[in-house]
Amino acid sequence: MPLIDLANPTRFLSLVDRALPWLAGLAGLVLAIGLYLSIAVAPDDYQQGATVKIMFIHVPSAWLSMLCYMLMAVSALGTLVWRHPLADVSAKAAAPIGAAFTFMCLATGSLWGKPMWGTWWQWDARLTSVLVLFIMYLGLIALWRTIEDPARAGRAVAILTLVGVVNIPIIKFSVDWWSTLHQPAAVIRLDGPTIHPSMLWPLLITALGFTLVFFALHLGAMRNEVLRRRVRTMRLLEAADGAE
């Protein structure tokens, strides 16, 4: 069971040192191919024109923003249930990256929305739930930043993450109710055109590239976090020696 081997930070570090360069390289390659296909090869959409090219970064970032939260939820279980030493390291490393991708989804989305709906933002159900997700990311990061002892912070954040997971479907449901109740002015067809294969492949490859990039970043951030904790531990040792 690899997770067990990874329990030892030193072994984890050496593994990351070996694996990360390859992963990063692969991610860059796939992303490059995907972008090339989506920018140069993929045709424009018959009704959305060239703006559909935004979809190739918008949708992957949207998917990743959710994937990342799911990963944090699993890590939270790892912290509270399985007590895996790297679980909260993973959660802490993932939070800022997830927030970044969520922001990317929001930004590209509204850059798409301006030409499509003539407005940067709509209080439409799906958009709003992404915004709420973004805020939840920020809250988790804030909690990490404010609790100094990483172990305690990890447990606190884990609880909040799980409570959040329980709530996300409820939030989604209630936001849907809310927006349908009010029938927002502009009729949005978020799901856009039924995607034509000539667009689907570039989209999927770009999404794969994004995912690989995400995991490369995540591993790197995890390594940094392990090192940071090592520094802290040694500081504490220094303090202890200083006491005598």
Binding site: T51, A107, L111, P115, M234, L237
Partner: protein
Amino acid sequence: MFGLGTHWEFIAGAYAVSGAVLIALVAWVLSDLHVQRRILRDMDARGIRRRSDGGSA
């Protein structure tokens, strides 16, 4: 209903924003790595060494 190349600025903007975010993330990870490693080197120089992982004294 749109000709080719209309709204190119929005497309460029979207790609620019995404690129900036990705670059920022990479920069963050690398710089953080650099900082942590330097601190560890300094400590090593000061003769503070880990007696084992997980900070047991």
